[in-house]
């Protein structure tokens, strides 16, 4: 349509100011949509963690501080008696006491360091999944985290010498677990509790992982642990993974709100500059408007001529912004979430569509008044305009 062509050529004629006005739309749409993508990816990835570890309650010694410090780094421990109390409190659910620590390790001639977990042979399959080989059967057998194995070229059957404590034989490689809230064996090894206790002369545990069979019981299980151990004074911290995830989500949502606010401000500023260049465009073309009207262009057609201009600016800005938001979402997601598999799913792409629609809407709204003004010029005066 010729009116669209008219708008297009006018933008091309004034490409620099059009470009500058579009820039604001690009920034606004990109930041809003990227935050939407990241937010959604976060919800999805946390949702996935929730279903895999959401049934978990972690009991760690009370450190007097925030209670969020890594377990095993304090002198406080969980005694056998406390483990028994926890076991009684959570029946029929499973309570798994865990030793945790770290040490230097030697694989062949290669020296490195990693975390070590000591878990009862029978409990290992409950907590962990094997990827290659089998679960530990003997006391000197160990399971190795996937990343630790890959980085140090560890195979099933390899031997690892742990500090000065002895040698373990690798019976299986664990499936990669990702960000966990109970134990993180990806960069370490899992040995049997007896081996750990002997090697490190340990009697007390660093944490107890409770697996709750029915998700609906999480709160009541947590409560009964609290009641059994923390009645007089707080000796343990009882954390359900859902709470930890909620804390992260809250933190994220305030960052997200902040960035979205910046995006929103950017869109408002962009809207003002679109309005500004549209007004300039109308003023510069008063005579052309008069000519168009004398040739028989209706008011609505003159209005369309200018709205097309706003629409083109909006479409171009929003499209570029949308592309940038995908790139940005991909980048931020890979940096923060360490995975990009949630970026290109429909629910993550929805914010891009919303962001783009919003950007286009801002342009159109800001184009309405200038277009209306152009349409309602008196054709006689417009024709006489110098």
């Amino acid at each position: 349509m010729i009116l669209f062509e008219f708008a297009k050529r006018n933008i091309r004629l004034h490409w620099l100011r059009s470009f500058l006005a579009v820039l604001g739309i690009v920034i606004g749409v990109a930041s809003i949509a990227a935050m939407g993508i990241l937010g959604n990816s976060m919800v999805l990835s946390i949702g996935e963690s929730l279903s895999s570890v959401g049934d978990t309650i972690v009991v760690s010694p009370h450190t007097g501080g925030s209670g969020m410090g890594p377990p095993g780094k304090t002198n406080e421990k969980i005694t056998d008696r406390m483990v028994e109390q926890i076991k009684r409190a959570v029946t029929p659910n499973l309570a798994i006491p865990v030793y945790s620590g770290g040490d230097r390790m030697k694989i062949g001639s290669k020296e490195t360091a990693g975390v070590i977990y000591g878990i009862k042979i029978d409990d290992i399959p409950t907590l962990l999944e094997v990827d290659e080989g089998s679960y530990s059967r003997g006391e000197t057998a160990a399971m190795v985290g996937r990343k630790f194995a890959d980085e140090n070229d560890i195979k099933v059957g390899s031997r690892i010498s742990v500090g000065t404590k002895g040698i373990v034989r690798v019976s299986g490689i664990l499936k990669e677990r990702g960000m966990g809230f109970d134990i993180n064996p990806d960069y370490g090894i899992v040995v049997t509790d007896n081996w750990y206790a002997q090697a490190y002369n340990a009697t007390d545990y660093d944490m107890v992982v409770v697996k709750v069979r029915d998700l609906a019981q999480i709160d009541s299980v947590k409560e009964s642990i609290e009641k059994a151990l923390n009645k007089r004074e707080q000796v343990v911290n009882v954390l359900e993974t859902k709470k930890i995830l909620e804390t992260i989500m809250t933190a994220f949502s305030s960052i997200s709100t902040f960035v979205m606010a910046i995006g929103g401000i950017s869109l408002i500023v962009a809207g003002v500059s679109i309005f500004n260049i549209m007004m300039m465009s109308v003023t510069e073309r008063i005579r052309e408007i008069g000519i168009m009207r004398s040739l028989g262009a209706q008011r609505l057609e003159v209005m369309k001529m200018f709205l097309y201009e706003a629409l083109i600016l909006g479409l171009v800005g929003s499209t570029i912004g949308g592309v940038f938001s995908l790139l940005g979402g991909y980048l931020v997601s890979s940096l923060i979430l360490k995975t990009t598999k949630y970026v290109f799913v429909p629910s993550s792409l929805l914010p891009v569509v919303y962001g783009m629609a919003f950007g286009i809407a801002v342009c159109l709204v800001c184009g309405i008044y200038p277009a209306w003004k152009a349409a309602n010029l008196n054709p006689i005066e417009a024709l006489r305009h110098e």
């Binding site: 349509m1 010729i2 008219f6 052309e288 004398s294 040739l295 262009a297 006689i380």
Partner: protein
């Protein structure tokens, strides 16, 4: 509607038309009880000093304005109380404008400028051969069709403007000082072109203050102080 003058229907008929502009300093009577009519195929020159009401007359004939009182028929339609929408339709289909400053759209090529009224009428960008035929008839070579107006001489631009005015085959060709921005020789060429159009039956109303130009017209209307002399 009156059917005077040997049964032909006038294309323009003013009956006691008055146009008053309300200005802060008071009312200005631009046209004062004007009555006249123009028959199909006439070539009329409207002359008069500036401020005489020439422009007002032209705006009324061009359906850009409506009278304050009196009756005015353009192309058989009474325009006294027409909406802006209907006036615009009438302008599009029955009036072709030729201006002193040519008034071509600088962003469009010669051909696109000529296509413009046709596109507005048909709401379609497929123009067919009509724009090229009209451009040929005003004496422009096809090599110029893809040029923009700024690349053309004044005379060529006015020919494009005439082609644009004629593309919808309007009943009335309305020319406002068509040679005002041209040198004598180029102006003569344009006037010859318009005279030829008139010989082929086109009704032409032309405003001018140049007596030499007015000689091409078959009838001269002189207006002074809002009245026809």
């Amino acid at each position: 509607m009156s059917q005077d003058l040997a049964g032909t229907k006038p294309v323009i008929q003013f009956k006691d038309v008055t146009k008053v502009y309300s200005l802060p300093a008071g009312d200005v009577i631009a046209l004062n009880h004007v009555t006249f009519s123009v028959e199909p195929g006439e070539f009329v020159a409207i002359m008069g000093p500036s401020g005489s009401g020439k422009s007002t007359l032209l705006n009324l004939i061009g359906c850009l304005d409506v009278p304050t009182s009196g009756d005015l028929w353009i192309s058989g339609t009474r325009i006294g109380d027409m909406s802006d929408y209907d006036l615009t339709l009438l302008r599009r289909d029955s009036i072709g404008f030729v201006f002193q400053q040519f008034n071509l759209i600088p962003l469009f090529t010669v051909l696109e400028n000529v296509q413009l009224p046709l596109t507005l009428k048909t709401q379609s960008s497929v123009a067919g051969d009509r724009p090229k035929d009209v451009l040929m008839s005003v004496g422009l070579e096809p090599a110029l069709y893809t040029h923009t107006p700024s690349e053309l001489s004044g005379g060529q631009q006015q020919r494009v403007a005439i082609a644009r005015a004629l593309v919808n085959d309007p009943e009335i060709l309305l020319c406002d000082e068509p040679t005002g921005n041209l040198d004598r020789k180029t102006g003569t060429g344009i006037m010859e072109l318009l005279a030829g159009m008139n010989r082929n039956g086109k009704t032409i109303i032309m405003v001018t203050h140049d007596p030499k130009t007015a000689e091409y017209a078959k009838r001269i209307i002189i207006i002074e102080d809002g009245r026809i002399q």
